[in-house]
Amino acid sequence: MRARLYLHIGFWCALFAVFLALSLPIVGPAILENKIGPIDPNHSTDSYLGGLTHVRNGSQPFSNLLETVPPNKSLIIFVDAESSPSEFLGMLVAYLAWPHDVRIVKVRGATLEQEIAAAKSSEIAGLFFCSIKPPASLTGGTHFGSAIIFVPSVRLGPNP
């Protein structure tokens, strides 16, 4: 009976030892990385905007940019369907664009011009291009950092 108990304890100790030996090299560094702060209301969005557009504390300036847009009109956000950072940035723009109605258009290949033509309407306040280059015909957009370009509807030309 005692031998069985020792076997039981030894077996579980061995299992836990292997478990910890494999875990510690992963968990240890993960616990030590990063530091607390900044203690900021836009802590996460600022961090993502900083990483993707290189704009520091970008949430507030982005909200200021949107204040120039009529609130009852919607925004179209173009993202590259084959780029996760572009899609993520599009969602971030949609998140920050509240209370504007938004539509995210995933662009595949060279269909951007058709997508823009299809999106044009009098209800649109403007277009956002997230990590995607707008066509040359659209000039005078506002650059927000390195990855977001905003083209207000007045620059889109007449509606179809």
Binding site: L20, S23, S44, P99, V102, R103
Partner: protein, 458 residues
């Protein structure tokens, strides 16, 4: 002002939750303070989020905030007065040996580290877009999530159909702080973790009579790499760890009601069961399984009426939420097709690939170390024990995994294997604390498994 508001939010939430906990535990002559605090947190989240949602259909703004706060205070006072009337004594369990003191101190230190680590990271994809987004929009609309949000196709990526326990707990903090604050809401996630890390040892102690074993298991819990070192764990503000804590609490108290025959254990099971589908959509699957286990226990103990009663509030909540989504014309992006027999027969050939992908995931040591090997050994131990409670625990661990894997038969993703790869690790987290409970029970030698051992099966 922000910190004062945060303190006010936590105080009212804990008072409301403590009220519910005390009302449930009133039958017990002696109350464990740690148990009360953990349950107060879990029930407080339920009370505040449900009241904010329901109250939001009638009123908004400061009136809504005051109504919810008053209700929380009323619950707390009712619970307190009842415990005074019944002369219930509160106790703080103290470690009995040097080993228990060391383990308890290490656990406290570990919880502190988890708290700090959570504050160091940003909210992850789901944490920001699926949960915090709802809290922010509700805050900006006087405490109510506007109908235009639910029906907006442009924001379907944020899953408007997901239930509101986490976002409306975050909203509660926002209402009290007076601003949406992505930093301070991260504090709720280590609290969920701490509640789980304290309830798991408590349940193991109650089921085995060995406190040191419970403390040891609680200490090992964060060494599962996916919990502390991966996107999806406790550090990124996802709902999977909170859901897993509700699940292990409901399952653990169900086993306690079977092993220890304490009536309040079954009531706690019922109360936490109700909140499971309110945490995350997948909670409906966990709820269904636990409801069946509860019915099985009810049948076994010839107490079928309480078993049915414990299921009804959760069922009502699931139906109410679906009706509400229908009424607000919610855009529901679906990753799964409606399960039908013809579709099942067409997709049955996926089974091999699904099992293969699941095996690849559970053997991924960078996510799990050898956690699932420990789980397998524990399951064998529990099956060999041949008692009903151990058998139910095995179902509680394996059941959700099997059900989750079967859902991929109906995945509508262009690549269902990519669907598995992206979501299975987080689904496995839902049973992680329950699996630690199983490991704790397996570790306990059969001689002293329970003070009141139940008869063997068969």
């Amino acid at each position: 002002m922000t910190l004062l508001g945060l303190a006010g939010a936590y105080f009212t939430l804990f008072v409301g939750g403590a009220g519910v906990a005390l009302l449930i535990l009133r039958a017990s002559p002696r109350l464990n303070l740690i148990e009360c605090a953990c349950l107060a947190w879990l029930f407080g989240v339920g009370v505040v989020s449900l009241l904010s949602w329901l109250g939001g259909t009638l009123t908004s703004g400061i009136v809504l905030q005051c109504l919810v706060a008053l209700f929380c205070l009323a619950l707390g006072i009712s619970g307190w007065r009842l415990t005074k009337r019944r002369e219930v004594h509160f106790s703080l369990p103290r470690p009995n040996s040097r080993l228990e003191w060391i383990l308890a101190a290490a656990l406290l230190l570990e919880l502190l580290i988890i708290f700090v680590v959570c504050l160091k990271h940003t909210l992850g994809w789901d944490g920001l877009f699926n949960w915090e987004l709802k809290a922010r929009y509700a805050f900006l609309n006087s405490g109510i999530l506007p109908q235009s949000y639910y029906s907006s196709p442009g924001r379907a990526f944020s899953h408007p159909e997901y239930p509101l326990a986490i976002p409306f707990t975050e909203l509660w903090l926002y209402l009290w702080m007076g601003e949406p604050n992505q930093f301070w809401i991260k504090t709720i996630f280590p609290l969920f973790y701490s509640a789980g890390a304290l309830l798991v040892p408590l349940l193991i102690t109650r089921l085995t009579g060995k406190r040191w074993l419970g403390l040891l298991i609680a200490l090992l819990l964060p060494f599962v790499p996916f919990v502390t070192a991966s996107p999806g764990g406790v550090i990124v503000g996802y709902a999977d760890i909170p859901l897993s804590i509700y699940y292990v609490t409901a399952l653990g108290y169900l086993l306690c009601s079977l092993d220890r025959k304490l009536s309040y254990s079954f009531t706690i099971y019922g109360a936490t069961l109700t909140l499971i589908p309110w945490i995350k959509s997948e909670g409906a699957i966990l709820w269904s399984l636990l409801a069946l286990l509860g019915l099985a226990v009810g049948l076994y103990q010839h107490r079928i009426r309480p078993a049915i009663l414990s299921i009804l509030p959760g069922l009502f909540l699931i139906i109410s939420w679906r009706v509400y989504l229908y009424l607000v014309h919610a855009v529901i992006p679906s990753d799964f097709a409606r399960p039908t027999l013809p579709l099942l027969s067409v997709n049955l050939n996926r089974l091999g690939a699904i099992i293969g992908a699941a095996f690849a995931e559970i053997t991924e040591t960078s996510h799990w170390s050898i956690f699932w090997l420990l789980a397998l050994v524990a399951i064998i131990y529990l099956l060999v024990a041949r008692t009903l409670s151990r058998f139910l625990l095995v179902i509680g661990v394996l059941g959700p995994v099997i059900l989750y894997l079967l859902t991929y038969l109906f995945s509508v993703w262009p690549s269902y294997t990519a669907h598995i790869t992206s979501s299975l690790p987080r689904l496995l987290l839902h049973v992680m604390p329950a699996t630690w409970l199983a490991i704790g029970l397996a570790l306990s030698s059969p001689k002293t498994q329970s003070e009141t051992p139940e008869p063997k099966l068969g």
